[in-house]
Amino acid sequence: MEIQRKIKFEGELSRDFLDEIKEMSHCDEIDRCIQCGTCSSSCPMAIYMDYPPRKIIAFVKNGFREEALKSFTIWLCSSCYTCQVRCPAKIKITDVMYALKRKAIQEKVYPGQFTIPVLAREMYRMIAKNGRSSELWLILNLYLKSWNPLGLMKMAPTGISLLKTGRMSFKKEKIKNTSQLQKILKAVKEDGQ
């Protein structure tokens, strides 16, 4: 076993991290966290997380950039908002998780086994192209682009019953004024750069 230092030196912490996340999440209250743990005990996903939400907030507050961005936690957040409505310090924890996801995608540091960024990206592309999402195509793309044909096979019986009951179709949904939507997306994208 390699002996490694487990504690970070202060100089290794990211000083700007808190401010970046505050701005991205539109949540100024992050450093008011009292580490009470209400978020962690409310979280239905906490049992699967590598760090519970309380620790993630502490990471953000104290500049542990890699620990927060590379965590599984941010990808396991299901946006149920339970922690957010219960937080006594009024920290918008779900929005902080969203900000961390965006940051992790930007910096390309998310853990590889998660297909969630793939889902987000595929959905984004589909909407940019057609204005609406077509569930069947979204699912197909998700499994193909995340190299998971086995998962797709397992989904087949479900897919068949959905097709049978008319709840899924190969039709691609599309809006009429796609050019207007694309102009909006293009302009907002350019504004952000």
Binding site: S79, M123, E135, N177
Partner: protein, 292 residues
Amino acid sequence: MKDYAYYPGCSLKGNAKHYEESILPVFKELGFALEELEDWNCCGATAYFAVDDRMAAAICGRNLALAEKEGKDILAPCAGCYLTLRKSNQYLANGSEEAQKILAVLKDVDCEYHGQVKVKHPLEVLIQDVGLKTIQAKVQNPLVGLKVACYYGCQLVRPFTEFDDPDYPVTLDQVMAAIGATPVEYSAKTKCCGGSLTGTIEEVGTQLNYVLLKEAKRKEADVIVTICPLCQFNLEIIQNKVAHKFKEKFDIPVLYFSQLMGLAFGLNKYELGFKRSIIPLSPLWEKIQRGG
């Protein structure tokens, strides 16, 4: 009170067709002539906010502007759309430099938005605009003896919590009682079903839904009633996987509240989307016929 523009979102045109097939006639019966918002686009759901919140607010801004042009508020039956549209509405009204820029972009493409649109969920409208008495008065066939587990999930009651409690909401239970059904004490009513995680991390999704199903069974519910397409989808589809993984068979029907309302209002049973249920409904029909 303004009229509502019906915003179906992608799910009600896809796997949740039976939600659309039941919500429209029920609201018509209650005096709302719902017309679909002309050329609406996808709200982006939770995925879009994860990629770029400015884009998310901008594409929702287009929908809000379309409704404003029609002089209407938005009625969004999907809890995901409801939350995303409301969140974007708030974002665009927060006065920040980013919001101003997005509003300017919208204006440039003839989608000017002045923040005049409210976003509502049908349950909210039933409670705030319609009232339980009016609902009760419409009932032709009370669903006597039918035990329902009212499942609210997350995004309807959180983080925007104006019309019901975020932890222990009651309005759906009240509506179900108004149509003669018996709501059971469903303590898992706001516990998360996992949302899109059931598709991306199977293990997690199966476990979460197992808890929800088990609690409904423990309370001897005949049916789980939902207000959200993704919750409905997860709870129904997962029953196969759960049976396999936990060696426990449930076969609990998962229906939309509007389907049961339509049934109680005496609307044509064959036009309320019941045929789209994957879980067999025959025990349910027997129970309703017997009167519990």
